[in-house]
Symmetry: C2
Subunit: 491 residues, 2 copies
């Protein structure tokens, strides 16, 4: 990775000063076009080798660009809020909307690299972290957020020489921190760590650019040119055309399948219902009060056909829990702030803290259900979503979050009966609209999407539970029992 | 306040059960209409007297309503993030969008009431906190967020009797915490505190409702009916009509005025500029590194005519500060999440943490400038905004935030020259659009708005600094010098 960056490129001061104004104008122009086209670029500059010119470059970049449309991200220590979420949460939370140019002084590389260099992270978790980063960046790229990655390089000897020179001069000695020395030593002794990190995470879409840090004018100018080239190449990419409407599905999914094998005759009587619901609600309340849950969180996802009984089931779960520790997040059309970011952003922003249970009334699975069926996104988008969703849920599970996912099914006949009842009953009339009748006509297309969703996203850490919903009482008990067992088994 | 609530109202269980279904249906119906009309209601239930039925009512309300569209707010201890902002910040952060019904178990009354009861807050700061609350609620009401406030009351003796009964029974003794006893004792000994709080903050728009907590069925049913009545009354309020266009202004504001008295011939030469800018940037950097600033934050507001040089001045300020500690927030049209909340929300969400300086490139003054002139809000709205803005800035100042406000003026002739130059220069063409030419034609109307803004919102803790902008170098030095002096004087 570093061969080219060790050729001692140079640029004398006068040439630099002559060329700088043109570079600045071109960068500014690219920045405004980015804003206009609502593209977004994330410039990552993780630690870097001390003395190689990273800080000087960031200052120059801020000079060149219009600082009003640049966001600087620097992550110091973890806050309480950060510590109670998966490691990538803090980056998701601050993810800039489209149209911004963001500079990341610290970023998702910082902690794994730093910890690995300081021997605080083993080889296997380090590689796992890199793999996670690679997936994050691929997703960002696919969602229109380009990632530019710069590494400022100095050969080990030169780095040591510069640090000593700085430390030896009384006027500059304060700039050399103990951490700089530790990192410099680790970089010198184990250069393979950075080499590996850069190699593993250099993809066709998000390659690393290594800057020769030997000469400061060269480093600044070369890095500026590289950023410019990257911005121009992303601005030159043609805007995606309109999303083609999906072909209507005519044949139901091949049998047997998870929907066809549901037994909608399952039902329980009123007295059994009362007994069971009380029992499982009490056990749920008890489970969530256990000490182990204080270090964990839970997410309950509800998907299902319209009028399958999601609302009633959600109510029975929420009832059992102290109102302070449960949140229900109803998912409807995204806000414009949500549309300006990758589609998972709106769910990351609602992740529970420790000791909390969050219920999603519809969820990120909208991508592979309604968005797929209605043609709100491209086929390529919902096809990659399966992997992105699995990766998202794996991050939650790795962080100790308990995930329970319920799909509530209702037969077409029972659904029709409920629709008619809703239309008739004054205080239920808000629960039915033209969309519901339209969705009903697309049932075959939805069935295909549901069968594929369950097949691709039922994982060990987050399995789907299919619930027969024709009898509401049966469905509610089934949801509660299954949720309680999942929580009890995990704690 | 409590006379009516001590008449021992009663409702027997059977009557309650007979009437409950109709109440529930009516509440549900009101809730859905709220959602449909995008109105929002905040139900506040601060501490309340132990044993008076507050918790039981909240549980009942959650049973009655569709919990998917209810938000529960419970504020436990202050987080790091909370502690570095004004006390009301945490409530602003979570302020629900229009269409939600929110239940506040803790709220802006909780801390002042609790601290006053525990003798941790003097009479004067207590009354000041109540006054602040009153202003907050008046603003919420004016912005379409209704506040319903319920106090569950029990006479002191009865409260004591109930606590003893609970504590005496082994099965319920755990429910009585030490805090309950402390609060009960304080309420008994100093009943005037709650009485005063309720009286002071009962306004025509946001009155307190006191519920007789003697009989639990009565308390639950009566509180439910009161919430229903409040919701129905707010739903019955006619929707506001379209905002009338403001009449065009033809005569300039009376002289002398802050704009007419600016001396646009002020200018400095290149070498003086270099010397001065370097000097004041260094002093700014130095001032922000002082220890005192770690416990404070700073906000710098820039307003001004188009092309008055805001961007250049902002850049010179930002340059002087370590990029990690400065943020620039450009204010353009609000997002839909912002439009669904009171207009100050979008600024509260960008308040700096301790040690940070935030630059607002245009600000909350948009309300009394562009919104007033263009008729984006009613006259009543921008008229009340002066007071709301002063109150907002006072809260910031009370919390130790340093506020500096600059208005950059440019003469019509110089503005025209700059517009033409922008239109001509390729990399400046993004800085000029049809809006700028239109605004120029409304200069007289803007001048009226500016003169009134400066007169009404120049306060001791946040004075306006008017800057002559015809000479950019003069303007930049003036801004930096004034900012540094303000920060140095405060620290």
């Amino acid at each position: 990775m570093f061969a080219d960056a060790e050729l001692n490129h140079r640029l004398d001061r006068r040439t630099f000063e002559r060329r700088e104004p043109a570079l600045r104008r071109a960068l500014l122009d690219a920045q405004y076009r980015l804003l206009e086209q609502k593209r977004s670029a994330l410039v990552l500059l993780p630690l870097g080798e001390p003395g190689a010119g990273r800080t000087e470059f960031v200052n120059a970049l801020l000079e060149w660009l219009d600082p009003r449309h640049v966001e600087i991200h620097a992550y110091a220590r973890l806050s309480e809020e950060d510590r109670e979420r998966p490691p990538l949460w803090r980056f998701w939370r601050d993810l800039p909307p489209k149209g911004k140019l963001s500079i990341y002084l610290q970023n998702w590389y910082s902690a794994p690299l730093h910890r690995r260099l300081m021997r605080d992270l083993g080889r296997v978790p380090f590689l796992a972290a890199l793999e996670r980063i690679k997936q994050l960046e691929a997703m960002l790229h696919a969602e229109g957020h380009d990632v530019l990655k710069l590494w400022f390089h100095l050969p080990a000897k030169e780095m040591a020489r510069r640090l000593e020179a700085l430390a030896g001069d009384a006027k500059t000695a304060w700039r050399v921190t103990r951490e700089d020395r530790d990192i410099a030593r680790a970089l010198r002794r184990r250069p393979e760590i950075v080499e590996r990190a850069l190699r593993e995470t250099s993809s066709a879409e998000c390659p690393w650019t290594v800057i020769d840090g030997h000469d400061r004018h060269w480093a600044k100018f070369d890095a500026g040119k590289r950023v410019l080239a990257a911005l121009e190449s992303l601005l030159a990419a043609p805007a995606p055309g309109p999303v083609p409407k999906p072909a209507p599905a005519t044949r139901p999914p091949t049998r047997p399948n998870v929907l066809a094998s549901l037994d909608q005759t399952l039902a329980i009587g009123a007295s059994e219902y009362e007994r069971e619901i009380t029992k499982w609600q009490a056990r749920l309340a008890h489970a969530l009060r256990r000490k182990g849950f204080r270090e964990r969180a839970a997410i309950v996802v509800f998907e299902g056909y319209d009028a399958a009984g999601k609302g009633g089931a959600i109510r029975r779960v929420a009832q059992a829990i102290d109102a302070r520790f449960v949140r229900i997040v109803p998912i409807a059309a995204p806000s414009d702030e949500e549309r300006a970011r990758p589609y998972l952003w709106r769910f990351w922003r609602h992740l529970p803290r420790h000791g909390q249970l969050t219920i999603f009334d519809r969820s990120w699975y909208g991508r592979v259900l309604v968005e797929r069926v209605e043609g709100y996104c491209r086929e390529a988008d919902w096809r990659r979503a399966y992997g992105e969703i699995n990766e998202f849920e794996e991050q939650l599970a790795d962080d100790g979050v308990i995930i329970a996912k319920f799909f509530l099914a209702v037969s077409p006949e029972e659904q029709l009966r409920r629709f008619r009842e809703r239309a008739r009953t004054p205080w239920k009339r808000f629960k039915i609209g033209p969309d519901d009748w339209r969705n009903r006509e697309k049932r075959i297309a939805y069935d295909h999407a549901i069968v594929e969703m369950v097949a691709r996203t039922s994982t060990d850490s987050a399995p789907w539970v299919m619930v027969e919903g024709d009898d509401k009482q049966h469905a509610r008990v089934r949801v509660l029992r299954s949720l309680v067992k999942r929580i009890e088994a995990t704690l």
